[in-house]
Symmetry: C2
Subunit: 605 residues, 2 copies
């Protein structure tokens, strides 16, 4: 169902009902762009830490507009053994609702716009008939504006005409307005005397109305384009006041607009499914709740505050959604049984309508059903239907796929993130003329390598054997055009540079110190609330620290190491954490889970 | 005529022809926004200097997209005594033409988009079928890319597979590609041996083609999605090479796209008319030529370099274009006689189609004809038709209307700008709660005032009598919530702050000094070329300096004072400049010219 500004209010209850009755929801967003900074390959480097990825997306992707929001609700019909789905495709646009409303500026990226244009995306529908929205701060401000106006009206204008410098004296009427005001006063006096006339319509006036309100005690004023003055008794006055308040409330609701749907999703506590969902979640919070917080741990707090974290699991996949959907129809998966609810149009998966957000949300939901049911095949007896509430699905909750990160499959909204060993990774800097082939050439002696570009003049290169890392560094000692260092050295240097920057001036340094302490404090309070890893506490604001004294033998076969220490003392703590927070076993289980979503082994074909 | 991507090439010659044969051109642009910074009222303060206005527009208005460009050409038919017009409405969009092309990001302002949406603007046409463009630097880079590719192809791939670190040794073929390469080599050897087969189509390969080109000496390769290897003799090879070059040239032309129309306008030397044209000119240069220069004087240079300044006059008006057009049909003006050329659709001015750029350009042209003809009514004998080439129109050349500036009617592209006395102006700062009415209240003793908001907490207030300025300053000496200073004090303080900023660190200071010297040098060289005012030289980088020792009697009745001095010595020089550059008489003539365009006296009704 297509929802635009003109039919939004009429269908809002239908949306609420669909969310309320559903077993799970699937969402998808279309944006006016992806990255206003580095190229997408630099934006999604294979060795980003979750914090780095968060920072990059926050910095380079939040100025775009989420202008189409797809919501598909799925409700299981036990008798018929099939899902009933309702799909909504919302067009979103921050249309200013009056002169004081926020005049949002958003960025468009030509390549994204061109891509959507080729898919037949209807920009006219967005810009002419998109549903407006407000974030929470804007909503609060608007509510205040209404409250203020109301209290002014109730106080019979006692505030509006007072200037700060002349607290209690009456307003001076400018010479050129005197005649007009005198005439109005005369008219009003006539109105009050004359028992037959009920109201008086004033001529349009350009000046402030405060001079006029000042003259009135027991008459009621409607401020529109024309001023109408009516005589009213107390009861009529109250009735009108209530009418006005109801109208204001409706105006407020209209302005909050699409945010009401997002609030309903968040408050429903339902499972929300998404495909490559990190950007969608960040954008949804940024656009409809509040500006994104400065760092990842605060972001995790926010997702929990807005009861988002309780409901976001993940579907992960680094191939396209279309391919995933196709794949999940084949053995060993089975095509899900889904039908549109009555009165809702059905999508035809045979004729692709991809990149309409509503359709993408629908496909995402289908994929989830196939994958969840697949989990049931490992049970004995085999279970054909696995509900969204099943324990089998729970391990996948609150984990957002990190697209193109090689060794950290997901961002964990519920606690600390995985910290892989990167002892097989080198950081290489080189002249900007170099291409990937030059790096292959340079490392040709080391067998297979993987290259992850950082920018024009640097890249991470991962070797297949960690023992060769030091050899590579040593052989490059005297090279002039390029420079090789270990990942650990790179991280340390970056950290030092950060420190040096802080030392720039004494003043700013002191302020930074104060901030650091504050961060630490916040961090501590966090533990209690969300049981973060103590390691994260220990290292404070250093979100990545790799040890010199680290034992390369330790956990060599396990790719999911929880944290890295720089000394034996820490290593000990680390072990404790691992048992408590993410034991190797559980970690592997995750990895297995990811594998099944990430890539279907070719042997299954 | 509507011109979009799909019919652009077919109609380009028609556009060129229309420009070439015309007597004058009118242009208009539609943008995705106006200001990404302060409110429009702060963006266009009544006491902006031309430099300040330029800086504000450059900073806050250049990230928007000019996405519709209207061009209307007018040719006078002497026999029929009427104009023949051809109107073009171009849709513009920076569609990326390949993976290496610039991926332009542009800002949209909700209020502007909403405004255009309400006018029925077709965003789908822009985004799906807009004509691409390149600025001069992008065009140069693309040309270089083609040249490089060509020289690589001519050198039979001798460059493409060499990495900087292994200058002359052959490329190492990765293990996993060896089989594929060996097979290709075999196939090529077969092709060369076999006299019957002429070409060979390779299987799609993901690896670099450089390894393959390395193996080939006398075969010709077409690099497309599939690699086709053909045997060719020298003649065939040349023919293909030429074919390829022609194709490349066409691709290049397609990419330069709409910029070709702008070049044709600039190179035609024709008179170009615009309405409130400063933003259009700045945007046109920024989008289709080069990023705007740092300061106004350089901007003036650029407009002259691109032969723009020779052709931009102005139509000024602070009311809307629609009202202007209506007004210019009435006495003492006469409605211009204009007809569409054959094959060109005509616009109906009765049914408003405003804010389609092509229509707005048409209306702008009509206004110009009415106004130019009106100038003929002052001649004796009276002249009914005044051509765009007439001496009567010349005084209005190269002057861009400064919207909402109170005392500087235009920005002069040909030389130094007018520098009005502002001895009746006060700078007031106050708490952010203050409204305009508070300022009226504060200055109620001083008669009529004019308020020009700068930001939330400051404004310029102009008094009707300059003598009252000092009284106002004195009476406010002990005020706590607000602060009043003269305009001269304000400018001086601002200048001091700039200097203080420069002193921030010694290093940056030294660099600034170097820059200052450089500026001065550029300034000097400018005089020779463009005969700038010596005063501008004297004051160096201080684009606004108001004197303490200034004689208030001097030029009191003349609102267009060329420059302001801070001492008798300068005042003397100043007088000399005035005589040379902009004598009071000429200045008044301008003022008169403006009055007639700016506001039609009501006595004419």
């Amino acid at each position: 169902m297509e929802v635009i500004r003109s039919n939004f209010k009429d269908n809002l209850n239908k949306v609420y009902e669909a969310i309320e009755e559903s077993d799970f929801l699937a969402i998808d967003g279309e944006f006016s762009g992806i990255s206003d900074g580095p190229s997408v390959s630099a934006l999604t480097n294979g060795f980003d830490t979750p914090e780095e990825r968060y920072q990059k997306l926050k910095k380079h992707s939040m100025d775009f507009l989420l202008f189409q929001f797809g919501l598909c609700t799925f409700k299981y019909d036990d008798a018929e053994e099939k899902y009933i789905m309702k799909s909504f495709n919302f067009y979103i646009f921050p249309k200013p609702f009056n002169r004081n409303s926020p005049d949002v500026k958003f960025v468009c990226q030509s390549s994204s716009i061109d891509f959507l244009a080729n898919q037949g995306f209807d920009f006219n529908k967005v810009f002419r008939n998109g549903i407006p929205y407000l974030n929470q701060e804007e909503e609060r401000q608007l509510r205040e504006q209404y409250d203020e106006k109301r209290s002014q009206a109730n106080g019979a204008g006692s505030l509006s005409y007072l200037s700060p410098s002349s607290a209690k004296c009456p307003v001076t009427i400018p010479d050129d307005q005197k005649k007009f005001i005198e005439k109005v006063v005369e008219q009003i006096e006539d109105l009050l005397k004359n028992e037959e006339s009920e109201s008086l319509e004033l001529e349009p006036c350009t000046g402030s109305v405060s001079e006029i309100t000042y003259l009135l005690k027991n008459v009621f004023i409607l401020k529109e384009r024309y001023i109408v003055i009516s005589k009213v008794d107390e009861e009529e006055r109250k009735r009108r006041e209530q009418q006005k308040q109801a109208k204001e409330q409706e105006e407020l609701n209209d302005a909050v607009g699409f945010s009401r749907v997002v609030h309903a999703i968040a408050n429903s506590g339902k499972l929300v499914i998404g495909h490559n969902m990190l950007l969608d979640v960040m954008h949804t919070i940024h656009q409809f709740y509040c500006p994104l917080p400065d760092d990842l741990s605060e972001f995790k707090e926010v997702t929990s505050c807005y009861s988002f974290s309780k409901l976001i699991p993940f579907i992960i996949n680094n191939t396209s959604l279309a391919e995933l959907e196709k794949r999940l129809k084949e053995v060993p998966f089975s095509p899900p049984k889904v039908e549109s609810a009555e009165g809702f149009p059905s999508y035809d998966t045979a004729s692709e309508q991809l990149h309409e957000a509503g359709y993408d949300a629908y496909i995402t939901g289908l994929c989830f059903i196939s994958m969840a049911n697949f989990l049931g095949s490992f049970l004995s007896p085999r279970k054909n239907h696995v509900s969204a509430r099943s324990k089998l699905v729970e391990p996948f909750f609150n984990k957002l796929f990190l697209m193109r990160v090689m060794d950290i499959p997901y961002l964990n909204l519920e606690g600390p993130d995985l910290q892989p060993k990167r002892d097989h990774v080198l950081h290489v800097s080189f002249p900007k003329e170099w291409k990937t082939s030059d790096l292959y050439q340079l490392f040709s002696a080391f067998g297979n390598i993987q290259v992850s570009w950082i920018d024009d003049t640097s890249a991470f290169v991962s070797l297949s054997q960690p023992e060769q890392v030091q050899i590579a560094v040593n052989t490059s000692r005297y090279a002039e055009s390029y420079r090789i260092q270990t990942y650990a050295e790179y991280v340390e240097k970056k950290h030092e540079e950060k420190q040096a920057k802080r030392k720039c001036t004494e003043d700013s340094w002191k302020e930074m110190e104060r901030k650091r302490l504050k961060t630490h404090f916040t961090g501590t309070s966090t533990v209690g609330k969300r049981s973060m890893s103590p390691i994260e506490e220990e290292t404070g604001s250093d979100d990545m620290e790799e040890g010199e004294g680290q034992d390369p033998e330790n956990d060599q076969t396990d790719s999911c190491v929880e944290s890295l220490s720089d000394g034996k003392k820490r290593a000990k703590k680390l072990k404790k954490v691992k048992t408590e927070q993410a034991p190797a076993g559980k970690c592997s289980a995750y990895a297995h889970g990811f594998l099944f979503c990430l890539k279907v082994p070719s042997s299954w074909n």
